[in-house]
Symmetry: C2
Subunit: 221 residues, 2 copies
DNA sequence: CGGGATCCGTTACGATACTG
DNA sequence: CAGTATCGTAACGGATCCCG
């Protein structure tokens, strides 16, 4: 709510946009869905944002009760509250819609891969069987995430996993054709990525879950 | 894409926001989900928007392929394309999130009730059995909508229905407590609204669908 | 050096007035 | 009725500076 430029309508959509509709707000939330982050982590994931804007948005989101600040000074971290986590379906649907749109001519490279976490976790949760339990590390362009599915819930947070049973290693840009449906996930695993079992666990259920999640993102399920 | 201030990122969320993230864009789409509308209809549903902004947004949304213009001059109408209709899940999730937030102190009254259509239709579709067929007129604050559920799909468009089998008549503001869960839908029908069968059709399935849809909006399902 | 705050030129927004 | 034109104001974006 910067400068109190509010829609002030009865409609819940307008109310939501009063809190998350400002420029950068949803992208900041997107990054925070990958776990707590420092100011500079967020800067790295949001190419083009001005420092004052990031500050202002973090203040706004905190005032709205969606973000909390842990600590102060050098090691301060921002994390989502429960209300902030409730934005996941919004981000997920934005992601599905965005997948239908043509890619921009000159994409800027973000400095990290945090942005994939929301989309992939939410998509996987749409198709995860309630009786499936998976722990796996996902490494994208060298950046590790810990992926956990359990009782129909899926989370994906930035950071290496302790003793992961499974590990997917690949490049973010090579997932694009899989999402678009022009390359099958099986072919992707053959040619462009690796999926290893580190303790003998069967990798097939995890692979199937990823394949279905990418179908969801691509709008094929 | 006003002034081409684009996020230009690889992330599909950023790509989506490049097309629908500008101020007013999602609220314009929201109104158009209730059916084609003239310029002045949209102005009435968007209190506070400036005329030049509405013009500019309609141009942007048309350029993005989400909106089409029918006719020219006095009777021109704007309508959603298939791509524009694909924004419904985004609006629906925004609506569910907005329902969790405190209502603004001084809500401005919009000049029409078009904004309810997306939310109610999307919510009803979440719970509509595939074998349920319902045609009903919904009149909110005197404004009629035609509500149709069939084969698991639900639509709700502004405008009176031809020979409706059922008719719900009520006030928008009195639905708030039902969404919030403080008043049951049954009590709402008893005290605050009317539900009539105009040709002997059983109103119960329609009532049950509405009740469940309001639960969905309120986050209880 | 990370985590911001300050300053300033540019861009978008919002209100009103005006035109076909 | 359906917009366009104008203009003051507010927000954004980049750079620089400050503070621990």
């Amino acid at each position: 709510m910067p400068g109190h430029r509010s829609y002030a309508l009865l409609c819940p959509i307008a109310r939501a946009l009063d809190h998350v509709g400002d420029r950068w707000s949803l992208l900041i939330l997107r990054d925070l869905h990958a776990g707590p982050a420092r100011y500079s982590d967020l800067m790295a994931g949001l190419p083009g944002i001005a420092a004052n804007l990031l500050s202002a948005r973090l203040v706004d989101l905190t005032a709205s009760g969606m973000v909390e600040k842990d600590g102060a000074g050098r090691g301060a971290r921002y994390r989502l509250t429960d209300l902030g986590r409730a934005t996941r379906p919004i981000l997920f649907e934005l992601s599905r819609f965005g997948a239908r749109l043509p890619a921009p001519a000159e994409p800027v490279e973000p400095g990290n891969r945090r942005h994939v976490a929301v989309t992939l976790a939410a998509a996987a949760e749409r198709v995860a069987p309630a009786d499936l339990s998976v722990r796996a590390e996902i490494v994208l362009d060298g950046q590790p995430f810990s992926f956990v599915a359990s009782r129909g819930r899926v989370s994906m947070e930035e950071g290496a996993m302790l003793a992961p049973p499974l590990r997917y290693t690949g490049r973010y840009d090579l997932l694009g054709p899989v999402v678009a449906g022009t390359v099958s996930f099986a072919d992707h695993l053959d040619r462009d990525a690796t999926l290893e079992s580190l303790d003998g666990t069967d990798a097939a259920p995890f692979a199937a879950l990823l394949a279905e999640a990418l179908d969801v993102i691509g709008g094929r399920r």
